[in-house]
Symmetry: C2
Subunit: 291 residues, 2 copies
């Protein structure tokens, strides 16, 4: 982290805004520059408090940065990489916080064209809320951050980025972009698809009778549709496979229910209960969950 | 409520235990008797504090009750109704807190055989936790309670029961058992099936990377498998239909994802987002949610 004097955050939504807050909280002395292409967002971001410099164009954000972080929708990355290639210092570390990683790596390869040092980041933090007004300096406390690398990735850049996210409170792990996209199709993108599917399968009148279970299991369906459309488009094959697996499980339970097969229903529910109990224990041990 | 001098709660799990606590909190002067067929549960229930009489057999609980509440798994109701028919007073109000209502009504009709006055209850409250140790006196605060009635239901019993659940903090509504089971297949039983399916579709290793979204959307899968097996068996046709609708929605999103149809994906996600936003506003207006 000590070699990173300036971080520039492109995109000031919930995650981008929270990065600027967390850096000022956790890394004293680091210059934080923020840019959003929307003037309204820049105005709101200026109310985030002192120590954050908001600039009006990308070049101004990029030119003196040691680390550039894209916190914009995934399908904007390609264009940003192209522009960054013209303005960043050759050794500038470039990363993004997108929820998929194969496409960002491919775009960085072709559009940065050797300029800067790209590493993928995926801080597993956020909420269904949207916008800089929901930014929090503790968003990354005890969160995981996945760094994605290929054989071509600069190892010094990986080390520096590990230090950066760790300083913000993350526990950092490294994997390949392909592995990342497969894993997160299952544990993040599929749940979103299922939550949206559950709401869309429900009648407005019926939903009024919903209890806490329904509300919790559909919370993520309140996430911004544009952001999630990008995610689903950026990880199509993996998500299509995950949906197949989910449908197979639903069909399995449905068959047991139709047949009135008590043993089989109990087995499937108990298997899910146990798997989740093991997961919760693990998350508590890793301090990602309290209690 | 003033005509109900004694309530007897059969089954002292999370819900049954919470009823005994809530009655003592909200209805001073009402005698509360608790029974569980398990000696260990009776012992634990005795630690719930003063003002609760725990008895060792069903007849002792039933004989002087003005209101008997079954808070045991659904498929035990038939047997309990048969036993209650031999011990309750002729005008005793009998209800249950099962999550499905058609079968309880059918069993009450055939097994109570004219003894007592049966009304179905479904307090929409609970959690994934299990056991009297999780009982809370505020479990029913701002919760809905559905009463189910048929043309044969005694109206004075419905009024008394409405008063009882209202006193515990519930907002009470009445519907037919068939309507109840259709609605709750969609908003309660289907979410449980989907949560279990999502966990069962997930690899243990992959799940370690899960964030708050996955954990929230699968919380209900940690509910007791035996209780939920009963629920799914007691509402087979409706749940099978609900699963069909969910699979249709998943397939719809999957098709759009496979085709890379941005407009269609965005439309489906935005529809879910809006529907849920409307729901949340409604729940806040009804004070079922804070914020």
């Amino acid at each position: 982290v000590k070699n990173l004097r300036q971080v520039s955050v492109i995109g000031l939504g919930l995650v981008g805004g929270s990065i600027t807050l967390a850096v000022r909280q956790h890394i004293p002395g680091m210059t934080v520059v923020g840019y959003s292409h929307r003037a309204a967002t820049r105005r709101k971001a200026k109310t985030l408090g002192t120590g954050l410099k908001i600039v009006d164009d990308l070049a101004a954000a990029a030119v003196r940065a040691d680390l550039v972080i894209l916190a914009t929708p995934i399908f904007t990355f390609e264009g940003y990489f192209r522009e960054l290639a013209r303005t960043i210092r050759p050794d500038c570390i470039v990363t993004d916080v997108g929820s998929t990683k194969l496409l960002p790596h491919a775009w960085a390869e072709s559009r940065l064209a050797g300029r800067g040092r790209y590493v993928g980041s995926h801080p597993v933090a956020g909420s269904e809320q949207r916008g800089v007004e929901f930014a929090r300096d503790d968003l990354f406390d005890q969160a995981r951050c996945i760094l994605t690398t290929t054989p071509a990735t600069d190892l010094a850049a990986v080390r520096a980025l590990k230090g950066f996210w760790s300083a913000l409170g993350c526990s950092v792990q490294t994997m390949s972009p392909a592995e990342h996209d497969r894993v997160f199709a299952n544990v993040s993108h599929l749940p979103h698809v299922m939550a949206a599917g559950l709401v869309n399968a429900s009648d407005n009148g019926d939903m009024r009778f919903a209890g806490k279970g329904f509300l919790d299991s559909t919370r993520i369906a309140s996430g911004p549709a544009t952001v999630w459309t990008d995610v689903l488009l950026a990880n199509r094959e993996n998500i299509a496979d995950s949906i197949d697996r989910a449908i197979a499980q639903l069909t399995r339970l449905q068959t047991a229910i139709k047949k009135g097969n008590r043993t089989r229903i109990a087995q499937l529910l108990e298997s899910a209960r146990r798997k989740r109990a093991t997961l919760i224990k693990y998350k508590i041990r890793k301090k990602e969950l309290l209690r």
